[in-house]
Amino acid sequence: MNIDLPHIARLSGLRIEEYKLPQLQQDFEDMLAMINHLPEEPDMLPVDQDNCMQLREDTAEAGKFTRDALLQNAPAVQSGCAVVPKTVE
């Protein structure tokens, strides 16, 4: 299978150096050969009624975190906001 790896990398938000592409192509072919082993069968999931998801009330909780605590790991912060490169000229 001919896979456009630079395209998949872009979709993944990644960049692969040119010199790594041949090895990655080989890795992908090996992985696809492995994951291709799947049966042809209809989708037949019975819903497990005994273990339904229980969602919590959608209520806002104030004061759980401070802005500073949430921004303490941000690589660049200015005036209480995460800084990103300029996107609009």
Partner: protein, 489 residues
């Protein structure tokens, strides 16, 4: 015998009887870490507040407070579980300096119980690997043989427990990441039923499979810690809403009449003769205790590795999209715009295995391939789950090897990545079906490497698994002995 060699249950009794203090236990385990960590590399970060936690337990006991049985017991925590104020890296350059502003629910529970957190343990980067060799920081070595891997991805937790560098440990299991390293290191490891332990604060790899679980050197220890961390949590939408019994107080070594299913697909030519012999010897022991063996078949097992890698990587490609260098984590030093910053940050911050799995996940979800891969993998997952359901009509639990071989040599897994994926064949079916599974040591190879047998149960049948393992442990003398290969005096 030194304190680091004792189980949590033994130490708990000694604390209660005032034969030792939590500070003394911590000091001895820290001394053990000094002795062996240079060769094992189980930890990435040590807590600076562990002595303070131990002192607080001793003071509370002196005041006559009623404490949890695990109060004062040293605990190692896998480095993908958020610990407030304590670095949590997922063994990735991406999170090298990340300090969580909150505790995972399981951490809140162990802190409330008075457990003493020693530090954060090494792992495969974001849980992606089976040997702890994809860690950005270091490779964890097997305490039984330093030229072998500790398994993965919870290799640091397994090695810490097996070497006496921790009394108990928390790990996480997405495709076998607790059970396989437990088997390789000669420890016990419980992967609980999906939904029974909160995932709030566990950094996600594949959310529909990820599950936090426990590692220790005795079944009672595993039962104590599991009972502490399980339970419904509104902060985790996939948390199962039900009542959870205390597994530790209900431990019973009586397995007379227990029907144990032996799936032929887990004893074929892909499994080493050594491992098969160890597991069959353990099963004979269980029959001597009154259990009955029944041959069963789980034919969908052959599709499990394919289905698992498609689904897990698809989820990973979505989950790891959050690492973009904006709100937390690594950011590339040089870039020319927003998209360039994203791509450089992620390309420099993630290791090769993580990038490979993100790309595989993106590929199987991309236009034109979704039906061929993702949809078929979901159908295979359902088939595997249904086959387990059918099997449990004929048996109470299922027994199988936890891994196809003993611990691999260093570098072996990375030199054959597809081989490494295939080596997950014993463990991934359980994650696909969301079942509980407990791996216990069950013998060794000729060269002294431990083997593991996993006991698989119906959803929420942890008690039955623990009782079976408890019966085995009591009849064989157990597996509490600490590995001494790692430089102990």
């Amino acid at each position: 015998m030194r304190l680091y060699e004792k189980t949590a249950a033994e130490l708990s009794g000694m604390l209660r009887n005032k034969e030792c203090s939590a500070v003394e236990i911590l000091a001895d385990v820290q001394e053990r870490i000094q002795e062996t960590e240079g060769e094992i590399h189980a930890y990435l970060t040590f807590s600076e507040s562990s002595m303070q936690q131990a002192r607080a337990v001793d003071q509370a006991r002196a005041r006559g407070e009623v404490l949890h049985p695990l109060a004062g017991i040293p605990l190692a925590v896998k480095d993908n579980i958020s610990t407030k104020g304590l670095r949590t890296t997922c063994a990735s350059r991406m999170l090298e300096h990340y300090i969580p502003p909150f505790d995972a629910t399981v951490i809140r529970k162990v802190k409330d119980a008075g457990m003493v957190i020693l530090g954060k343990t090494n792992m495969d980067e974001f849980g992606m690997g089976s040997s702890t060799e994809t860690s950005y920081f270091c490779t964890t070595h097997n305490p039984h043989r330093l030229d072998c891997t500790a398994g993965g991805s919870s290799g640091g937790s397994a090695a810490a427990v097996a070497s006496g560098e921790a009394t108990l440990a928390l790990g996480s299991d997405t495709g076998g990441s607790i059970r396989q390293p437990a088997a390789f290191c000669g420890a016990a490891g419980l992967k609980p039923t999906y939904g029974s332990v909160s995932r709030y604060g566990l950094v996600a790899y594949a959310s529909s499979f990820d599950q936090i679980g426990t590692l220790g050197r005795s079944v009672t220890d595993i039962a104590l810690l599991h009972s502490l961390i399980c339970g419904y949590d509104p902060m985790d939408a996939t948390s199962a809403y039900r009542k959870y019994a205390d597994c530790a107080t209900a431990l019973k070594p009586d397995i007379r009449g227990l029907r144990i299913g032996i799936p032929q697909e887990y004893f074929n030519q892909d499994i080493s003769d050594d491992v098969k012999n160890s597991v069959m010897t353990a099963l004979r022991q269980l029959t001597a205790l009154g259990a009955e063996l029944k041959e069963i078949s789980l034919p969908g097992t052959e599709y499990a590795v394919s289905a698992y890698y498609i689904l897990a990587c698809a989820e990973a490609s979505s989950n790891l999209a959050r690492f973009d260098g904006v709100r937390y984590g690594y950011r590339a030093k040089e870039y020319t715009g927003l998209t360039d910053m994203y791509e450089r940050t992620r390309s420099e911050g993630f290791g090769d295995e993580v990038k490979r799995r993100i790309m595989l996940g993106t590929f199987v979800l991309s236009a034109g391939y979704y039906d061929a891969y993702y949809k078929k993998a979901k159908a295979a997952q359902r088939r595997i789950a249904l086959e387990f359901n059918e099997a449990f009509k004929e048996c109470d639990i299922i027994a199988a090897p936890a891994a196809p071989s003993g611990a691999l040599g260093l570098g072996e897994a990375l030199s054959d990545r597809v081989g490494m994926y295939r080596n997950d064949r014993c463990t991934v079916p359980v994650n696909l079906a969301g079942l509980p599974s407990l791996s216990i040591p069950c013998g060794r190879s000729a060269d002294g490497l431990p083997h593991g047998m996993q006991l698989i149960g119906k959803p929420f049948a942890e008690q039955l698994l623990l009782n079976t393992a408890y019966a085995y442990e009591r009849s064989t003398g157990g597996f509490a002995e600490v590995a001494q290969q790692g430089g102990a005096v």
